[in-house]
Point group: C2
């Protein structure tokens, strides 16, 4: 008779325990093929459990092939179910699972792109989201439109027309999980192994990584204070697309002049290729109104990417692409195969948040806050580093670049800065051709209170003073 | 003097209107390079607006390069800003943007995989989600862990241990946007152009599409009533991985026997390749307890994929992968580059929903409902089609396969069925080697009320009777 160790307090049903223990005995060879199990009646009596429990456990074992039931004879251990277990490898895993740094309480990070989350109108959003969840029709909970909810796309088209000069049909929009997914879809749909891509240099390092999966043929085009230098585009060659951030070049902050905009448009029209326009933070333009998008000059050859990460909150993971009609079907199919669609309830909450005017009110409020923080940062930079720095790219967005004429931001000094509980990213990290931006760092300010800005700069000064003496 | 048409009721600021109208005149050549604009003072007087408004508009035009301001001389139209607009192409786009069919009210769809959404405890979820949104620390709103929230991964690891025999560390789990994204990551990380993949035939057609992007080397392995036929695996070749649905083969419904499970494990251990185990609906097993996963036999070489689409609701878009430690870093980096991470607030709501026991209660309730619906469907099938059908794969899940010995489900007859307001998917649609499943259709039942099941079968019978006479 088998020895089974049943335990009523274990949180697993008796039936499950019988099933598992017999299964383990078969797997590890304690019970051999051909051996007969006790009858269900006898097993139930010995274990003092109901016979039905044993019957169910035996049926489970049989349905998986561990045992075989021969009518009139009994239940036997089946062939081929023995499997000597490898010695359990100890889990000696020590590495952190997390690739975003866990900062200490006192850490000041000048990372770019994080909004002032403490000022996000959480209660307003929550009220709207909760109402949507209560009232949404059942179909919104099922598999949904890969392209995104039609209501959101309609609202977004109207918003883009009003704020960005973009005249598009809601069916030209695909709702994505942020701008990163939009870039992934662009790469998947437009790039092949032989494709050439032209991108701004420096450029967000993730962008190059995403494109590199599909092609190694990536040509950097240098930028200056006005953005991508169009006269340096290669002649007699043709890329699949040119990647640009014309409204606020990342990271250098230039705003592309109208002359270069038109040059770019002429260029892609001649070559019959595309522009991918990443408009990640142009809502926060501090002088005058946002500049019209490149898309507004050519809606057949410009692919426009936008995100709600900066104007709402990053962990929402919602962004969008505006596409020429000719590309919509292909992109939609890949969005479907990638993750089917983005969370529908979040999409509808966003739609309602926009419709109620809350989005534009929030952007307006944030623009004022960020302008103040930017001005404070610039003022303090000049105070802490008089005559030693130049501020670049401050006309828009959530970060500036600061050039320290006498400091070379080597990995060593960046490490020293980190040890002083400050985080800054050197522009070199985003450069494709290395060596041109050694003296520049990116300072994101949107999420920092004035006191944090001052504290951060003060620590930075200590490290820099120490390294230059 | 320029003629500007300002309109105070237009919803755009006066400054914006001045800026746009002058910009358009420069672009379309009405204002030529070198022309002088009226002074800000004069323009303000003529338009009867404040001078500051005009100054701002001029500054915007200058910052974008449309005009150039020469101190002491005035403001002039810049070179190279003229761009004859192409005649506006009419948007003659008629195609529907939506790839999921818009069914009429009366349409009955036997699609597989959609749960009974009307029974989802929407209010409980909403209460939890709303509380999470109110109480979450600010950091949850920012850019978050690419691998997924640690709290959710911890809860999930405990759940998998309890329900699926999976013994894993939370750091082996990556939270994904549903199973589709998990498959996309698998393909991205494990496949190259020369890679070979072995997959069950038939198999969900999307799976093959996802893998095909990376390799054309896909070998179908036929399944029978016990799942993948391990004795038909090719000899002397080695795939990157074998894709299987051992708990409930999709679509044929077989449950892989222990002998074949062990054969598979031996096979991949010998070849040093991986198994990708897609466990999409094993929570709903109608006889006995869920079968242990393949993962439980080898956690070094089995990649386990699960989803919340079936046990909660599809538009939530949350699923997961359990990976060998050796693959975690690579997968996490690609998750980060794909969409950074999945919505954090949804992840935390899910965690709390699981912690509160609501998930398991919901699954238990649904299992009872689906069992009833399944039994009703099978009973009615035999009633409507006596002696003409065979039901396959009914031991688990949310769909069955029905084989009609005398009906060939050609595109024509499927079209006829659709015209009768019923939707069924032929198994052939999912077959890689065509011609073996002509008589079989998939009938999903989880989301259908008994009256809908009966109505759907009655319509199906009419079409089939008509086509066979």
């Amino acid at each position: 008779m088998l020895y089974l160790n049943l335990n009523k307090q274990q949180g697993r049903s008796i039936c499950q325990q019988i099933y598992e223990q017999i299964q383990n005995m078969i797997l590890n060879g304690e019970l051999k093929a051909g051996e007969k199990l006790a009858s269900t009646r006898e097993m139930a009596r010995v274990l003092n459990v109901s016979r039905n429990t044993v019957i169910t456990a035996y049926e489970m074992l049989a349905s998986e092939g561990f045992v075989i039931s021969i009518p009139g004879c009994g239940v036997f251990v089946n062939q081929g179910a023995e499997f000597p277990k490898a010695p359990e490898t100890l889990i000696d895993y020590n590495a952190s699972a997390f690739s975003i740094a866990e900062y200490k309480q006192d850490h000041i990070s000048f990372d770019s792109g994080t909004p002032a989350l403490e000022l996000f109108p959480r209660h307003k959003w929550n009220r709207i989201a909760s109402q949507i969840f209560r009232e949404a029709p059942i179909s919104v909970f099922g598999y949904d439109y890969p392209q995104g909810r039609p209501e959101l796309r309609k609202t977004l088209a109207a918003y883009l027309k009003k704020t960005r000069g973009i005249n598009c049909h809601p069916d030209q929009i695909i709702i994505t999980a942020g701008a990163k997914q939009a870039l992934t879809l662009v790469a998947k749909c437009l790039l092949h192994e032989e494709s050439e891509v032209w991108i701004e240099d420096p450029s967000n390092r993730n962008v190059k990584k995403i494109f590199s999966y599909h092609t190694s043929n990536i040509t950097p085009i240098p930028v200056d204070h006005e953005g991508i230098q169009t006269h340096m585009l290669p002649k007699n060659r043709k890329p699949a697309f040119i990647f640009v951030t014309p409204s606020h070049q990342f990271p250098m902050g230039g705003i592309l002049s109208i002359q270069r905009r038109l040059e770019l448009i002429r260029c892609i029209q001649e070559m019959c290729c595309y522009i991918v326009e990443d408009d990640y933070d142009s809502e926060f333009k501090y002088k005058g109104l946002p500049i019209n998008s490149l898309y507004s000059h050519d809606h057949e050859r410009v692919i426009y990417i936008g995100t709600f990460s900066k104007i709402l909150f990053p962990s929402l993971r919602l962004g969008y692409i505006v596409l020429p009609f000719s590309l919509v079907e292909q992109f939609r199919e890949w969005k479907r195969l990638t993750d089917h669609h983005s969370n529908s309830l979040n999409q509808l909450a966003l739609m309602r948040f926009m419709e109620s005017g809350e989005l534009e009110r929030h952007i307006l409020r944030m623009k004022k806050v960020y302008l103040k923080r930017r001005n404070y940062l610039i003022e303090k930079i000049h105070e802490y580093f008089p005559n030693a720095v130049r501020v670049i790219g401050e006309a828009a967005g959530m970060h500036i670049v600061t050039e320290f004429s006498k400091v070379n931001f080597s990995p060593k000094i960046i490490e020293g800065i980190k040890k002083a509980n400050v985080n800054v990213i050197p522009v070199e990290d985003h450069a494709i051709v290395k060596g041109r931006h050694k003296h520049q760092i990116i300072l994101g300010y949107a999420h920092l209170e004035p006191s944090e800005i001052e504290q951060g700069l003060s620590r930075l000064k200590n490290v820099i003073d120490l390294s230059t003496t």
